[in-house]
């Protein structure tokens, strides 16, 4: 039974130009770019939590931002509920659509305006979207949003400033701000990586509760594969701007099909000194995104690389139930 698609990404590309000196830019014909996201396509279904995992520089953050049109893609399309949001040029139309797409950032210290009170921070989206009709309604919704995140009584928090709260509390405010509009789609970029371990699970639990309550679709971006396994229904693994593997979480984790996924999972430390896992060693470090390797981008480090991997780029192919791999020799 086909599930409803909330977000569909088609051939998304985002290149960042590198600023050169004035004279160099006159002499070189083609400006070098950072290939942050290079032609990826995937779908997120309604009500699911889709995880985008990968190491730093793989393009997951950029993808998340393109999905809600915070960054304009170089090319490609993003369809939200059937509407092609990348084609919208009118600011007003985009603004109205933003009501349904929100983002939670990584840094709880920088994602809140230090000069705004908590009430203003959480009320801002409501005010900008002109949703509430009266001050009372505004107050009620803000209080409700704060209570949903266990910041009770809300009056105690509404009149404080961000620097008076702890990291965990600030991140909860950021989440409250994202959910106060009751959006249909949310992106979270490493929402707990800057919090203490014992606080993480509380924040994540609240997040899960909210997602369930609102039936919203969620894109969870993280480099912590173990956490992604815990939170997400489906995973997409990115490497150097490409999606190398995609599929349901448990299947992907238990039986990875792409060598990179295998290496990634093997490298994650386990809080169990007796577990013996396969030690997969891959050499070297992630190549530069300015000049990605030709053919399969992973071939420079892949222990199973063959001749064809150096020249021909593998496409994302379905290898199992809803599982896709971009590899010439999937495991």
């Amino acid at each position: 039974m086909p599930k409803d698609i909330a977000i569909e990404v088609r051939n998304l590309v985002k290149h960042f130009p590198i600023s050169m000196g004035f004279f160099k830019s006159l002499t070189t014909r083609q400006a070098p770019v950072v290939h942050a996201v290079d032609d990826i396509s995937f779908k997120i279904y309604k009500g699911e939590i889709f995880g985008l995992v990968g190491e730093s520089g793989c393009g997951k953050t950029t993808t998340g931002r393109c999905l809600i049109n915070l960054t304009e893609p170089t090319s490609g399309e993003v369809h939200f509920n059937g509407v092609n949001i990348t084609a919208i040029s009118e600011e007003n139309k985009m603004r109205k659509l933003r009501k349904n797409m929100q983002i939670i950032f990584q840094d709880p210290y920088e994602s809140l305006n230090p000069r705004m009170g908590i009430f203003d921070i959480v009320a801002e989206p409501l005010r900008l979207q002109k949703i509430t009709k009266s001050q009372d309604e505004l107050r009620k919704r803000v209080a409700g949003a704060l209570e949903d995140l266990d910041l009770a009584p809300p009056e105690e928090f509404m009149y404080r400033f961000p620097h008076e709260l702890s990291g965990g509390q600030r991140q909860r405010i950021a989440i409250a701000r994202a959910f106060v509009l009751e959006p249909e789609f949310l992106v979270a970029d490493e929402p707990v990586s800057m919090l203490d371990v014992s606080i993480r699970s509380e924040v994540l639990k609240l997040l899960l509760t909210l997602i369930e309550k609102s039936h919203s679709s969620f894109l969870y971006i993280t480099h912590d594969v173990a956490l992604a396994r815990h939170m997400c229904d489906r995973l997409g693994v990115m490497y150097l701007g490409k999606i190398v593997e995609m599929g349901p979480t448990e299947g992907l984790i238990r039986k990875p099909s792409h060598p990179y996924t295998e290496a990634l999972i093997a490298a994650v430390p386990v809080p169990d000194p007796t577990s013996r896992r396969i030690e997969v060693t891959i050499k070297g470090e992630v190549p530069s995104a300015i000049n990605p390797p030709p053919g399969c981008r992973f071939h420079t480090r892949c222990p199973y690389a063959k001749k064809i991997c150096e020249t021909k780029e593998p496409q994302l192919k379905e290898v199992g139930k809803d599982t896709y791999v971009a590899c010439h020799f999937p495991l």
Binding site: R98, Q102, E110, S111, R115, M158, Y159
Partner: protein, 475 residues
């Protein structure tokens, strides 16, 4: 966007101010600065009541370069005289011919003739000079007129009665016509001294008269020399004032023309504060606006703006200011405008660089994700976060403007009709305060400038400390 109207916004705003004050209060240097500024502000408001004299128009209040009064605390200065102003009320000393004299608002001596012998009248005004130290100058002013003069020559003689009862002539006038005028007799005036026969360079008339403390007198000797029996003459005397210029005066002494320096200082507070604050506020506003717009827009607009700023920054401000003032006038408000126009350049760069880092911040993007437009972002997010730096800079711009104004006035380019500290220093320099070692003229304006500027620097220092930690990470 309701700004201060809702209860929430009011509460948050008040808390912000309270937090700021709590932080500021901890900084002792800042408090010292703030108190000093408050004192200056109160003085500026109260200056019409605090300044006893007009700073420019009230001259001859004391001897030129008179020291402040409080130097009399020291024993060697204890006897220095203050300015003594005596309204002259004549009494009859001798009137052998019993000429009719009317006393009242004016003194009218009515000679009605009746004989051919000369008639004399001596009117005297006794006063006490309580110092052993003689004054250097005294001045007598009065209005006189003679009318109904017929067949007669009259002589008006003004003299001073010494302690030993000798009379020192001071001034005289002979005529046989109707006459009158406002006499201004300056004991140091060259005409006076030559008339009496003293050497203008070496002799001092006041010294010749005043030899110690005691009762002195001012003697008005009128001589009527009739040509016939029916000669008449009516002599009117009014508004007589004897002013013995003191060697000490007021709180801060006097300048070369006897103007009160304390009044000049007090009046200067207003001008300096006004110029300083206005120039700072205007330049800060321009600097913030340009910096924010340039930093946020980026691209071509940013490049062009910054190149313009670069070019303008290279211009030498003071010479340009002097030229502009020379061409367009010397009003102090014009000065404010010119200072503001040049000061915003430096601030715009600072603000721009802060905006460059601010606009990458997640909370700006979160606002964008919620549907914020560019204007909203600039006014609701960027400017409030840029304000602490702008405020700190503005507080430091005030002393800059004050010193610029003082420099210009000192160089002589200020408005001569406005009394500012710079003008005070200019006059001190030009009119010989340094040769006279008149420290009470030289130090106070300089100290006033320094203290006010230091106060602003202290406050700016304290505000700066508060401005930065908020943006710093707390882990």
């Amino acid at each position: 966007m309701s700004f201060l109207t809702s209860k929430e916004n009011r509460k948050l705003f008040l808390r912000k101010i309270k937090n700021f004050w709590l932080d500021f209060r901890r900084n002792r240097i800042g408090l010292v600065g703030l108190t000093t500024i408050l004192i200056y502000v109160i003085v500026a408001f109260a200056s019409p009541w605090m300044a006893p004299y007009h700073p420019i128009r009230d001259t001859r209040l004391a001897q030129g370069y008179a020291m402040p009064e409080w130097v009399t605390i020291l024993p060697q200065n204890a006897d220095l005289p203050r300015t003594q102003i005596e309204r002259i009320y004549w009494t009859v000393s001798e009137n052998p011919q019993l000429i009719d004299i009317q006393f009242g608002e004016q003194v009218i001596v009515n000679y009605l003739g009746g004989q051919i012998k000369p008639a004399h009248v001596w009117l005297i005004y006794n006063f006490n000079y309580p110092h052993d130290v003689p004054p250097k100058t005294f001045q007598t002013t009065f209005s006189w007129s003679t009318d109904l003069v017929e067949n007669l020559t009259y002589s008006i003689n003004l003299g001073a009665v010494r302690l030993n009862d000798t009379v020192q002539p001071v001034w005289w006038l002979d005529s046989n016509q109707d006459g009158g005028g406002n006499a201004f007799i300056n004991s140091e005036g060259i005409e006076t001294l030559i008339m009496i026969g003293l050497d203008p360079v070496k002799d001092n008339l006041a010294r010749r008269i005043f030899t110690g403390k005691g009762e002195y007198g001012l003697l008005l000797h009128l001589v009527f020399m009739p040509a016939s029996e029916d000669a008449t003459c009516r002599f009117t005397f009014k508004n007589g004032e004897l002013r013995i210029l003191g060697l000490v005066h007021g709180v801060l002494g006097a300048d070369n023309a006897g103007r009160d320096l304390y009044s000049q200082l007090i009046v200067g507070v207003r001008i300096s504060l006004t110029i300083g604050l206005l120039a700072a506020v205007i330049s800060t506003s321009i600097g913030v606006l340009v910096g924010v717009v340039s930093g946020y827009t980026g691209g071509f607009v940013d490049e062009i703006t910054m190149r313009i700023v670069d070019i303008l920054l290279c211009l030498p401000v003071l010479p340009l200011l002097l030229t502009l003032m020379f061409m367009y006038g010397k009003s102090p408000y014009y000065l404010i405008l010119i200072i503001a126009v040049f000061w915003w350049l430096g601030l715009s760069r600072i603000i721009r660089s802060q905006v460059l880092s601010l606009r990458e911040m997640p909370f700006i993007e979160a606002a964008k994700a919620a549907g914020a437009g560019r204007f909203y972002t600039v006014f609701r997010h960027l400017i409030p976060n840029v304000l602490p730096v702008a405020f700190a800079n503005m507080v430091l711009a005030v002393p800059g403007a004050i010193i610029t104004e003082a420099s210009l006035s000192f160089l002589g380019f200020g408005d001569p009709a406005t009394s500012t500290w710079g003008r005070m220093l200019n006059h001190a320099f030009s009119y010989g305060a340094f040769t006279h070692m008149a420290w009470w003229w030289i130090f106070p304006p300089g100290l006033a400038i320094v203290c006010l500027c230091l106060a602003f620097v202290f406050v700016g220092h304290a505000v700066d400390e508060i401005a930065n930690p908020r943006l710093r990470r707390r882990r």
